[in-house]
């Protein structure tokens, strides 16, 4: 079946602009996660959703970052007033349920802030 998809695959934006990153999880997966991966680094947790609610937003780096999920499916990560340090690969993952289970990752969106 279809895996996790993300769009766009690449995004170049000017400092100060807002960007929206989209994630389509695997159908039926109730848990959805956003991570950030800087060049040559591991994955940094940002936020997770169970259904449409986000019980844990502790990983969001600043109030410029926000995320929402609608219909228990698609999620959007929004970064306002982008800064150069926001440049990274943003990865989305989904899981059949919350908790200690395998997370299936999408290909990521590479964000470059110039």
């Amino acid at each position: 079946g279809a895996g996790v998809s993300q769009s766009p695959s690449n995004k170049v934006t000017e400092k100060g602009k807002d960007v929206e990153l989209r994630c389509d999880p695997i159908s039926g997966h109730t848990a959805l996660y956003w991570y950030r991966q800087s060049l040559g680094q591991g994955l940094e947790f940002l936020i997770y959703f169970q259904g449409n609610s986000a019980p844990d937003k502790s990983g969001l780096p600043s109030d410029r970052f926000s995320a929402e999920r609608t219909g228990g499916s698609v999620s959007t990560l929004t970064i306002q007033r982008t800064q150069q340090e926001d440049s990274a690969v943003y990865l989305c993952a989904s899981s059949p349920r919350q908790g200690p289970y395998e997370q299936y990752f999408g290909p990521g969106t590479r964000l470059t802030v110039t």
Partner: protein, 111 residues
């Protein structure tokens, strides 16, 4: 604090040899662990997982060993192939509904 780290940032092995990638974790409450493989330009791909009530689990050409006494995790890849070249991440689940990832080990296969 929570952290998952890898003993070696890079590992080079000969094609056909076995590879062992190590990982140390710090949270004794972690009850679930995963190994992911990430090829250039792609998202992490699940390899194998293990729960804390086990000390060994085998998959196709891969084995994960868990030593809870010293909080150590390893991934063994048998008869490595060129397609095994990638960055390998371990991740632990210490609760709070999220995985904590290590920094990764780059595995290079020499012909």
């Amino acid at each position: 604090g929570e952290s998952v780290g890898l003993h070696l940032p890079t590992l080079s092995v000969q094609e056909g040899d076995n590879s062992i990638i190590n990982c140390a974790y710090s949270n004794s409450a972690s009850d679930y662990f995963i190994w992911y493989k990430q090829e250039s330009g792609k998202g992490p791909q699940f390899i194998i997982d293990i729960r804390s009530n086990m000390d060994k689990r085998q998959g196709q050409r891969v084995t994960v060993l868990l030593n809870k006494t010293v909080k150590h995790l390893s991934l063994q890849i048998a008869a490595t192939q060129p397609g095994d070249s990638a960055v390998y991440f371990c991740a632990e689940f210490p609760g709070a509904q999220k995985l904590v990832f290590g920094q990764g080990t780059r595995l290079t296969i020499n012909p």
